[in-house]
């Protein structure tokens, strides 16, 4: 559990690099900071009251709360989590990492133009008003979606769909970058090796994400389920990477490294809700499908006028939906796959999408009331690193 939590934490620098390599030199620091600062803001929020909201005693299935969980005061060191034989603090931390990574995922859609203070405020409010309730509904034993039987092994709906859809909404709200041209590669990634390294770290961390989530299952199956989740995670990532690469090769005549990396992420996203519930062969199918569909989604999207800079929606939103639905169609445990289960999964997706849309619109309106969301044209032109943070990522050449 603790090593899983540590692995998930490594996803933060992993995501930071994955995104940071894809933007231009002038915006790399602010992009990396988006991920790191989630750790700072949500890291504090989660201990102060986030955990209480998500996993406190359920108030009618809609939200949790316990005064004793504020500041984690009520959790003594040796308090075990439910009957799982692990300390509750370990569970708090594991879940906290999920809460940290989710808003960081969103940042990819609005990179290179969002104002830093606005993103900070957005992160705080969105986590509190959108993430915590969703997590409660799906993962708290008394949450209403959980009670309905919606399956979400490690956060397909709570993390990826909610992040992907919110990213899309926010990208539309903020508008495209000043030099965005639909359908063209108008902005080139400044450091693809960073992006590939980031993908590698994400993939490593994801094993913590998915295998660690086996703890949610009843005691005796937890161990084997972790091994199963590990296997499906690896298999789906491999299949999706291969599928994206090959599809792109056929379609554009070039197998790209960014495609390979994106495929890995797409496969990891899609298997997330299903990891402990499907067989390795099903994982192969889920992965391959998500690789192709996300690739198409990303390319199709690029013809539209909205500008999801780093394709947070195309990968996390679309991948999350594929995974959530296929979980219902392919799971063999804890229930057998059935049309009914697919229906439930669709309900879960619908609730996730709806909550993300409404929540993001509300939160971004709130934020905008306090401080503008978007950087000025001059700031965007000169880069947010130097204008907002007073830093340049690289210093070389002359005079140094």
């Amino acid at each position: 559990m603790l090593s899983s939590a540590a692995l998930v934490l490594l996803m933060v620098p992993g995501l930071a690099l994955f995104y940071g390599g894809m933007v231009r030199r002038k915006n790399v620091l602010t992009t990396i900071m988006h991920s790191f600062v989630c750790m700072a803001v949500v890291g504090v929020q989660w201990v102060l009251f986030g955990y209480a909201l998500a996993f406190g005693t359920s108030q009618g299935g809609w939200i949790g709360w316990d005064w004793s969980l504020v500041g984690l005061r009520g959790i003594t060191m040796d308090k075990a989590f439910l009957d799982k034989g692990i300390p509750e603090l370990a569970f708090v931390m594991f879940q906290g990492k999920f809460a940290i990574i989710t808003p960081a995922l969103i940042s990819g859609a609005i990179a290179e133009r969002v104002r830093f203070p606005a993103f900070l405020l957005f992160t705080l409010l969105w986590t509190t008003l959108v993430y915590c309730p969703l997590a409660h509904w799906v993962w708290s034993p008394d949450g209403w979606l959980c009670k309905l039987g919606v399956l979400d092994f490690a956060g397909g709906t709570v993390v990826h769909i909610s992040a992907g859809v919110s990213a899309l909404v926010l990208a539309m709200r903020i508008g495209p970058r000043r030099d965005y041209v639909p359908g063209q590669a108008s902005v080139m990634p400044h450091n693809l090796p960073f992006t590939l390294l980031g993908a590698g770290l994400l993939w490593f961390g994801w094993f913590g994400f998915n295998a660690g989530s086996a703890v949610g299952l009843p005691g005796p199956v937890a161990g084997p389920a972790a091994a199963l989740a590990f296997t499906t995670t690896q298999t789906a990532a491999a299949a999706a990477a291969l599928a994206w690469l090959l599809y792109e090769w056929l379609r554009h005549g070039r197998p790209t490294s960014l495609g390979l990396a994106s495929g890995i992420i797409a496969g990891l996203v899609a298997i997330t809700p299903a990891a402990g519930f499907v067989t390795p062969l099903s994982a192969l199918g889920i992965g391959a499908l998500s690789g192709v569909v996300c690739c198409i989604a990303v390319q199709w999207k690029s013809r539209l006028r909205y500008d999801d800079s780093l394709d947070a929606f195309g990968v996390h939103g679309v991948g999350g939906m594929i995974g959530a639905v296929l979980t219902g169609a392919l799971c063999f445990m804890p229930v057998e796959a059935s049309a009914a289960q697919v229906g439930k999964q669709l309900l879960g997706v619908g609730v996730g999408v709806g909550t993300a849309i409404v929540g993001t619109l509300a939160v971004s309106a709130l934020v905008h009331a306090c401080t503008p969301l978007r950087a000025s044209d001059e700031e965007e032109r000169d880069g947010l690193d130097i204008t907002t943070h007073g830093e340049r990522a690289y210093h070389a050449a002359i005079g140094h």
Binding site: Q184, A185, V187, M188, P189, H252, R254, Q299, S302, D311
Partner: protein, 116 residues
């Protein structure tokens, strides 16, 4: 004295250097200065793909070679560059010859022809 500035393909630098060495006096120690640059002209860059979007950059990487020479060496040097840099395909670049009024060797302070 003249200042020669030649825009060439990066991969032809070695060949140009080889040719220059054979026409300039100093052999191993022939003198020149090289800079990176990007050129716009009839040649187009190679297609790049980013998540399925294509772009074909108009600016292409080139090198600029600068050589200061006494008049007698200008024509041989130009010919040497032509031999080394030519591939016959669009994008081979240009040679510019401009007048050089004075030239000073910093180490010794020597001026003019013998400082070149």
């Amino acid at each position: 004295m003249k200042l020669i500035q030649a825009i060439i393909r990066p991969e032809r630098l070695e060949a140009v250097q080889r040719e220059l060495r054979s026409v300039l006096d100093e052999q191993e120690h022939y003198r020149m200065t090289v800079q990176t640059c990007e050129g716009h002209g009839r040649q187009e860059g190679r297609v790049e793909i980013v998540r399925g979007r294509e772009s074909r950059p108009r600016l292409v990487e080139k090198l600029q070679v600068t050589i200061a020479l006494n008049d007698a060496y200008v024509e041989p040097a130009v010919q040497a560059i032509l031999r080394g840099a030519r591939t016959g395909q669009v994008g081979d670049g240009k040679i510019f010859v401009t007048p050089l009024e004075d030239c000073i060797r910093i180490r010794t302070g020597e001026r003019g022809g013998k400082a070149v």
